[in-house]
Amino acid sequence: MAKRFSVILIFALLALAIAACSGKNGENNGAGGGNAAGSTNESASSEAGSSGEIKVGGSLIFGVGADPLELNPIYAGDRVSLTINQALFAPLFQVNNGEKTFYLAESLTPSEDGRTYTLKLKDGLTWHDGQPLTADDVVFTFDAILDEKQNSMFRSNLILGGEPIRAVKVDDRTVEFRLPQVNPAFEATLVQLTPIPKHIFENVANIEQSEKNLYDVVGSGPFKFKEYKPGEYLTLERFDGYALGKPNLDSITYRIAKDSNAALLALQNGELNVYYVNPQDVPTIEATGKFEILPYSEGRLAYLLFNENSANGLLAKKEIRQAISYALSREEMIQTVYSSGEYAEPAKSFVTPDGLFWTNDVATYDNDVEKAKELLAAAGTSNPKLTFIISSGNKAMEAAALYVQQKLKAVGITVEIQSLDASAFGQKFADASATDFDLAYSGYIMGYDPDAYRILYESDGDANYTHYNNPKVDELFDQGAREPDPEKRGAVYQELQEIIAEDAVIYPVAYTKTIVAVDKRFGGIEEAVLKPVVIFEDPSKLYLK
């Protein structure tokens, strides 16, 4: 009797479990979702406003993957800090597709000889605490970055040929930057120079350790600091005195969501309004019908790295690099790694499409297995073996490595895949003396000025992970950095793109797009300008519909 009972009970439990599981998969649409934390304003005031009129009010919640490290622009280098800083601090100006948008600055005029830049600030600018924002703050920021004791990561950007650039105050609204040599890339450097308040930091001995970098941050951006609960969220509220006019939203909150699966659930539940999504998750989010899926160019190149320093000496030979490139098919690889051509455009140049003087019209070795075999035979290698390192858990790298392994096998090259833990991978990839790996799948975002790439391709470049050594390339980069005439400059970088493509220094795969899901209740996305890393260039333009 007892035995039979127990059997029945066990079956009953199993049946319950199975019923629960299938019930879960049946529906995809989230429940009413009225649990949106923080967006309580809008349920009362529904679409009463006529179209064309932007409502003021509402809260936006971003999901971010970690706590911000330092909210001080002279230190911020991680994605979260940079994203939050875009709302807390206003830059001098920004550049998109070659066009300048002025924020704190009114104008930037280079001199005839290109060695002096005059920056004029707008009138009536203030910090969040009401103090005026003047040329003093700009000069102070400049000097703080140059000050070795203050430990800013950006210091070397302000040093040209061993000499520092000098910032001189002309009057309360004007600053002159005096360069030791002509450098058209200086504009791109200024884009990243966001002023910090002199009156807060001027007597601080060690700015890096200041608590003002995470709490009660005083900035000049559209939103000012309200509260920060470490590990939980950081809230900003509207700053009426913003240089480009009063922002629409009442507040923005950055919610820390460390686990991406849980974050996706929170997104569906309305507890997050904006979050990065992977191509694989797009269908689930789209199915809820509550989100706009916005892919946009990240200014990023995903590429296959050839380590010319590798002990087996194989990749140092141009023919072998070309052979490997021929063995691969760019289109196929994009489909394999990114599951759709929608989120990645084929790349042939080492420069990204948002970069000045970019051209995809360069030599490319792609998808010709016969040619690959020919080149390998001519190079006379027997049983070539290559090591491909990947960072464990990185899906894109794993997919790329498996694809390359398979394709190279077809032309007679054996590829061994080595999976390393993320820190170990990072260390080995950047190790200039590493000779035990050949291939890696990586990516970079360098900004819009092509001079930024010299660090990757110059023989003594700090980030020359391929260890490519071509004196002609070094010469051209040097020339391009000094050439003030845009046309001549363009020709230099055109040649550079052609040479590097010809030499098959890397195998460029794709210009990847970032995908962001934004709650449909929010508008003004186009005006806010989707931008790599920080998502929105000007969050003041966002509004609740």
């Binding site: 127990s6 066990i10 659930l265």
Partner: protein, 316 residues
């Protein structure tokens, strides 16, 4: 008893020193570079090297350890390499969140485990016991993060009864709100602890029920419930005390996965981020803190054990 306590406390110092050396050595031997976690290809080598020197990372390992130790003896746990905030402050501000979460989970687990274990033991091999044992096997085998995601999906997304992440609703500062956010994480943790506690209690009960004093109670006509809950319970509590003593350190580090999934702002998630970024001051701080708690917890357990069971003669 007093001698035992004194002896233990004196042993703590060399023990902690040993733990700190081993921990530091392991961190330094592991591949990975703290500076790499906030460096991008755009940065020049001179800047990276300068930052590395400023953080003291270019010195040999034993020098770095010595500098850290010197600061520790002055009472300073150091600063995070990554965001330059004081380590002591970082740990203390997150301690209540983790301690609260783990404390509630352990308490709930113990409160439920005792009766469940007693009943399972008393009805040994009957169907009640089978069900309880089966559930505890599930609880031990189910991965915590899977259960967490499942519960979030069920209760937050589909039923919308509970919030899915964090410790608070944005901008709200009430205890009730924290409790509402805590229900899911505490349930997940309690379920997995419960499952192992039940098994301890159950086997202890089975053992106790064979003892003479139990037979005598039945001979005197006591009913099962009284025998179980008034007499056997006391004996069964002994392994629980040891368990709880050792769990004191868990109050700090026991909820790593749960905290990450629920974005609960506790020490566990601080520790994981620190480990990924090779942020050794934080790792050392957390390790020392939990080592200290483990030692104290064990001591407490031994002392309580001595009081609970007069048969145990604590060392003289």
């Amino acid at each position: 008893m007093r001698q035992l306590i004194a002896k233990r406390l004196i042993q703590t110092i060399p023990l902690l020193f040993f733990v700190s050396v081993v921990c530091f050595a392991l961190i330094k031997m592991a591949p990975g570079d703290p500076v790499m976690s906030f460096v991008t290809p755009n940065m020049h080598k001179e800047d990276i090297e300068r930052v590395r020197a400023n953080l003291g990372l270019d010195k040999p390992a034993h020098v770095q350890y010595w500098l850290w130790l010197k600061e520790l003896l002055k009472g300073n746990l150091g600063y995070s390499l990554v965001n330059h905030q004081p380590v002591a402050k970082l740990i203390l501000e997150r301690l209540p969140a983790t301690a609260g979460l783990m404390g509630c989970a352990i308490l709930l687990a113990v409160i439920l485990a005792i009766p469940l274990g007693l009943i399972a033991g008393a009805f040994h091999n009957k169907w009640v016991d089978r069900i309880i044992t089966f559930m505890s096997y599930i609880g031990i085998s189910v991965p915590v993060f899977w259960l967490a995601i499942l519960l979030i999906y069920l209760f937050a997304v589909k039923l919308d009864w509970l919030p899915s992440m964090g410790m608070r609703t944005i901008g709200v500062n009430s205890a009730a709100d924290v409790i509402q956010h805590g229900i899911l994480p505490v349930s997940v943790l309690a379920f997995s602890f419960l499952s192992s506690y039940v098994r301890y209690v159950r086997s202890s009960t089975i053992g106790q029920l064979r003892e003479d004093y139990v037979q005598i109670q039945y001979a005197y006509g006591s009913i099962r419930r009284v025998v179980l809950f008034r007499h056997v319970l006391k004996h069964v509590l002994l392994p629980i005390i040891t368990l709880l003593g050792m769990s004191l350190a868990d109050l700090v580090t026991g909820a790593i996965v749960t905290e990450t999934v629920f974005s609960w702002p506790g020490i566990g998630s601080l520790g994981v981020t620190a480990i990924r970024g090779m942020d050794y001051p934080i790792i050392m701080g957390i390790t020392l803190f939990s080592a200290l708690l483990l030692i104290i917890g064990n001591l407490l357990a031994d002392v309580l054990y001595g009081y609970a069971d007069p048969r145990i003669h604590t060392m003289r």
